[in-house]
């Protein structure tokens, strides 16, 4: 396994360990609402596991295993290493930024309230109480609306901040 693949796979494993930990914290909070701040880890959980773990592992293994340039580039069998190194740095920087970006920018690519809409609109929303399980893709001040069952209704119910 070339060094660059080793770095990618090890970083992917770190993202896996951290992503599982964040997911476990959020799940434990759903069971016993003891750590409202844990739900702020959702953007990191999603990006860390989807991109930091799954995609980065695929990058690392592909760089290691895919057919090499045996004849065309004898001194550079895996192509230009600089681009591969850049992808490692950029991918991990992107995942690290995804958490704050998801929190501050209103959730790129995810609909408002996702994926807590069914949870928030269910009769059990009282187990967390107002403000205890915030929807992290909603603006500050938004508290949802009881009985709002669609994303459209959620958007209409937003309180201007």
């Amino acid at each position: 396994m070339p060094p660059l693949s080793r770095y990618m796979v090890r970083l992917a494993l770190l993202h896996l360990a951290l992503g599982f930990f964040f997911g476990g914290l959020m799940l434990a909070h759903k069971a016993f609402p003891i750590a409202p701040w844990a739900m702020r880890l959702l953007p990191w959980h999603i990006h860390g596991l989807l991109i930091g773990w799954t995609i980065q592992l695929a990058f690392g293994v592909a760089y290691w295993i895919f057919p090499r340039f045996a004849l065309e580039r004898p001194g550079d069998p895996r192509g230009r290493a600089g681009w591969a190194r850049a992808s490692l740095v950029l991918l991990n920087a992107g995942v690290l930024c995804a958490g704050p970006a998801g929190r501050w920018a209103g959730g790129p690519g995810l609909p408002s309230g996702w994926p807590w809409r069914p949870w928030g609109s269910s009769p059990s929303s009282s187990i967390c109480g107002p403000g205890c399980a915030p929807r992290f893709y909603d603006p500050p001040g938004y508290r949802g609306e009881p009985g709002s069952d669609t994303i459209g209704a959620l958007s209409a119910a937003r309180i201007p901040s």
């Binding site: 360990a17 773990w53 592992l57 069914p118």
Partner: protein, 139 residues
């Protein structure tokens, strides 16, 4: 292919099938009104698909294909790897039952089951990372 990998892949395919069925059912929720316990299963759908299906498939193949640890124990501690299999699948099944249950009727037993599933899943992930880490090497 080692026996454990076969089981990981079989379980992954099983989770994938259940996730796709649940996803189809949740998709119908845009047309017909579904019971609250089913709409509360949206996170379960995502996790069955991505964790039970995709991640478990990767874990099984990585356990099989990654560079060997040594000649005597090429894949490391197999008992711990079986523990990963049971913790991951047990945790996911427990979560699939308890998460929608807590959402519609937060009984203490459902909450306890959900908390237990969180512990099982985190333990599975960390043990797997510990097993694979020493096998990420040059030769």
């Amino acid at each position: 292919m080692p026996r454990l990998t076969r089981w990981f892949i079989r379980a992954a395919l099983g989770h994938l099938l259940v996730a796709l069925l649940l996803g189809a059912l949740l998709g119908w929720g845009r047309v017909i009104s579904l019971p609250p316990i089913l709409t509360a299963a949206t996170p379960v759908y995502f996790h069955l698909l991505m964790l039970g299906g995709v991640a478990q498939f990767i874990i099984g193949v990585a356990w099989w294909m990654f560079p060997p640890l040594s000649k005597e124990r090429p894949r490391g501690n197999e008992a711990l790897a079986w523990a990963v299999f049971f913790l991951l699948n047990g945790g996911l099944i427990l979560r699939a039952i308890c998460e929608p249950w807590v959402a519609v009727d937060p009984q203490p037993i459902a909450r306890g089951g959900l908390f237990l599933s969180a512990l099982a899943l985190v333990a599975a992930g960390w043990i797997f990372v510990g097993l694979l880490w020493p096998r990420v090497k040059g030769r």
